[in-house]
Amino acid sequence: MSAGGHRRCAQVLNEALHEVFAARDDVDLLGEDVLDPYGGAFKVTQGLSDAYPDRVLTTPISEASLFGVAAGMALRGRRPILEIMFGDFVALGFDQIVNGISKFREMYDDQVTVPLVVRTPMGGRRGYGPTHSQSLEKLLLGVPNIVVVAASECHDLRALLVAAVEDERPVFLLENKLMYGRPNRRPEHRHVGEFEVRETGGPYPALTFSATGFSEGSATVVTYGGMLPVVLDAVTELVLEHEIFCEVVALSQLAPPELDPVLESVARTGALVTAEEGTLTGGIGAEIAARVQEAAWSDLRRPVQRVAARDGIVPSARPLEDAMLPSARDVVEAVLVLEAVRS
């Protein structure tokens, strides 16, 4: 337990893993250093190998092949969960992701499915430097036939993991390094702190936050994953310092894009800011902006603003990393730009 009575996100994910292992004996977990007592680099698999020694496999450091091994298992009726220690290492698996995992079902004319789950933490702000801090989800976003899900500290992490394991499609469940140690702040009585929260249905819901009961809003900020607490800090500051009220949409399903909650919010607010931790160019914000202007041009009073990391590396030294990654201040300034355009 932690402050506020919320369990930490890593613990919730750990319990969810134990739950799916108990519920289904066709689930296996593969990854590096996942065995007890170590229990994974971020401790999410703790206790699992002691409880299920035959179904938790610690692997060589062979990510490029492990994606293929998991695919082969999924083709033959197992439901593997592949833990990739750092999201950066997904880069090693791209041949398997692009030319195998995402293709088998469709190119084999629906004779097979590939029900695997890849769990991996993205994100910086821990000083791990250029190859252990990235948010690479945009590289997955353009791959057809896979589901990309971003967990945030306000999502039902248990439900996301269970849904991913039950999904017949390949699912990338993107976790976040800072999120692991933070409380899983689920809405209580439809509120997180001062925000009222609406949650969509479906396996990978979106959460929409409003500090005004959805009655007043100058802009919508769409975000996901580890950027959610940053954005919530920013919109709190906008209220306190500028008396500007924003709605926040926290997606979990990034791909295939599911933007109805964004469109609904933009219909109320008339303006959109996208906020992601990955680098700007070709990012998720670009895709969302394109889709929102196609679908809701008449709702937009002002141009879409994108907040993202500078196109470059994630430096290790804290001041350099802070300068490179998007901050609450960047989100505040993007909203203020919209306000300036309006006035």
């Binding site: 091994v69 082969g72 298992m73 999924a74 083709l75 033959r76 041949d95 084999y108 097979v112």
Partner: protein
Amino acid sequence: MTALATLYERMLFVRRFEETLLDLFSQGKLVGTTHTYIGQEANGVGVIDHLDPAVDTIFSNHRCHGHYLAFTDDAFGLLSEVMGKATGTCGGKGGSQHLCRGNFYSNGVLGSIVPVATGIALAEKKKGTGAVSTVFLGDGTLGEGVTYESLNMASLWTLPVLFVVENNHYAQSTPVELELAGSIRARAEAFGVETDELDTTDVEEIHAAAGRAVARIRETGAPFWLVLHTYRFSPHSKGDDNRDPAEIEARRERDPLTVAGARLEDDEREAIAVRVEQRLAETVAAAEEAPFAEPEAA
């Protein structure tokens, strides 16, 4: 029919099927590309005779027609797939090198298939089916690093994988001397994997060696690395061949059909040829009649 005659008939069917494919290509009746197995038939036919299509699995590569026919005997599905017909084994979506039927799979990126075959073996081991997961690779695939990651895992986890390395001496146009260092066999031995190595086009020798390899896997549950030195007479795909014609001609003396055919009586060989031509003609006629693949109505 003797065992040899059966193997010979399968090899001849693969050979004539692919010669027919090249003819149909020149007539503009095929789409995309194709990589033929002409000259290597003894490998696929000799190995696959030991596999049970109801239990065992195969993951093959871009040069997969011979493996597919030997395992599934589905000539119509393959031909109509390559012709872009709706009746193709993958409804025309895969084409020549992306096939799936039952326990047979193929894919077009070298090396990519090896970890997947390893994962298949892991799943089958967990399910306790006793299946052998066979993966066909070539000298070119030995340049892909995931091959060695897979060997490591297959050995480490004692997985029933039969690695069949068909060294046809060319990676597309590049001779093996320019793409491969060291020993093919020792690569697997370094991982503690049992091996065998043959330099022959004699289907009976290959059949016997493959039988020993598959039996070892069924007995131990451990992987096996079977190296078959071979040669393809056909180009890498269709017209792309810069090899010295004299080199190819010299190899034709070891044509697996000639080697095996010499051990059959003339009348048996001729009867087989008649059956093969008749089946092939029926297959081509049926595939020509079949409807083309069409996008689903929106």
